[in-house]
Symmetry: C2
Subunit: 319 residues, 2 copies
């Protein structure tokens, strides 16, 4: 009976790197790993519940209204006027408060799961505003630069927000991403509060020149132009101080030939763009060694830009 | 004797539209018309002189150091260690202080002329910094968003200034530009002094989202995306007040189906992007009528984006 409605589904939603230096709040891209996995099951309880969470060291709330995964599922059901019991098991396979879009991955995995179980009543594009509400719950700001890449995959531009206007940018061939997460927690909400409310016009012009250069570089598959444009004179100077050995890591990466180096989201994770998998791995090893020398544990990942976004995992047994 | 060194040359350098709404100081494109024409002749005087100027109503200086055309020629000769008498006749075929890159057209025409007469010792790319010095003389700021398009043609991104990093963006097919110049003078120097020195970070993010959207729109040949991105919440609100009937003109243009509407440079010229020559002409006529009703004389131009830049004109007789 292949065609019967499944009542359980497993969805993986990838972590994502937002900002890309100059592009604060407007760019994001998805990684192959890490990410979140959600196993969702329909039931007769009439309620949405978090049944279990693994990998969060007990830090995430289990209240339906406070956990982003259950909260966005409830929003989804409300929007469609559905009453449905839903049990959620969340496998957090990535660090929290890492700047890798952890809350976004949970929201996206949960929404793709419920939408699958409900027969795909909404398109992925229609899921975006609901995922953004998950971000509002998680960090106080309905930003889309993590949820959009986690949902759609690829390299996403958020042109504007009223309504959300996303543009899929071309992903350069041979572009690899190295990601290093030092075990230091920087909650996104706090990271946003550190930012200046006013900036010099002159700096803004420098920044949007680089933003334009970065977009042109992606379209032209020009890694040198991408590298020259990966500068951030506004946000990075404020946030770098909270990231251990940020400038030493940047020097190491750039001397080793990285295309560019920057903060992933609000940090503390840093990322490099590289011309090969091998280069990304070598640079990750150097950065990891530097952190280890200072007794800072860390996790490293190497990935191309994930062009698929959230994906439904094969079931181990057909239920 | 076709191969002898010519001692006179005529060069036309096109007017240009800088900024394109959100892209203050980083975008510019060249027009087919209007522009400046320079007739330059080598002589034995040992000096660079302005021999005549037409079309400026006596407003431009004729001192070698103060006129941008002669000043950049002197810079060129100094840079190459040359001593050479040069006579310059400048035919100003465009309005001054119009926001159409009038000073840039003079500098560019003069530099291309002297470089041609000297056997093209520098590339056009090498002429750019000299043309930027002409802008510093003319308005106090060595900006490149008029000189680069006037020199190279096309749609130019100025990614950064240290050193000048220009990127030629693709020019969408079927994109026409209507330009309307109301006879009101706004010197660039004054227009720059009106601008705020500090701006809200939130507005800067909105602006660079639109900058990124505009670049993506050019690469994707997507006139709708270009139109959605042609917004300026930072500079336009400050400058619009100096341009007669700006918002009424914008309403007219957008209701008539323009892709976008904005201030050319620092104004008072306004421009529309249109999907056809006919539409650009019709909108120009409507805008011109509106200005005429208020007794404001004006000049209108319709052009594709000029992809050639400054050009050497055929001589009427071989000297």
């Amino acid at each position: 009976m292949k065609q019967h409605m499944k009542n359980t589904v497993t969805v993986f939603a990838p972590a994502s790197v937002s900002n890309i230096n100059c592009g604060f709040d407007i760019f994001g891209f998805a990684l192959d790993e890490p990410g979140d996995e959600i196993v969702m099951t329909l039931n007769d309880s009439g309620k949405v519940t978090i049944d279990a969470i693994t990998g969060d060291e007990g830090l995430l709330p289990k209240d339906t209204e406070k956990n982003t995964a259950s909260a966005v599922v409830q929003l989804y059901l409300n929007q469609l006027g559905l009453q449905q019991g839903v049990g959620i098991v969340l496998h957090k396979k990535m660090p929290l408060n890492s700047g890798l879009g952890s809350s976004a991955a949970s929201s996206v995995a949960a929404l793709v799961a419920i939408n699958t179980l409900m027969g795909n009543r909404l398109t992925r594009r229609e899921l975006l505003p609901l995922a953004m509400e998950g971000e509002r719950l998680a960090c106080g700001n309905a930003h889309a630069d993590n949820v959009a890449p986690s949902l759609f995959g690829g390299l996403v531009l958020l042109r504007g927000y009223n309504p959300p206007d996303t543009v899929q940018l071309p992903v350069p061939e041979n572009l690899w991403c190295g990601v290093v997460h030092p075990d230091v927690s920087i909650p996104t909400r706090e990271a946003r509060q550190m930012l200046p409310t006013m900036i010099p016009l002159r700096d803004a012009v420098t920044q949007w020149g680089n933003v334009a250069g970065l977009v042109a570089g992606f379209y032209q598959n020009d890694l040198e132009l991408i590298g020259r444009s990966m500068q951030d004179i506004i946000i990075e100077p404020v946030r770098a101080g909270r990231i251990p050995h940020f400038y030493a890591m940047r020097d190491l990466a750039m001397k080793a030939g990285a295309v560019g180096f920057g903060i992933s989201g609000s940090g503390p994770t840093v990322f490099t763009f590289c011309e090969s998998e091998k280069q990304a791995q070598l640079i990750n090893e150097q950065l990891s060694s530097l952190l280890n020398e200072h007794a800072i544990t860390n996790q490293c990942y190497v990935s191309k830009i994930n062009q698929q976004g959230a994906r439904i995992e094969p079931l181990t047994s057909d239920l």
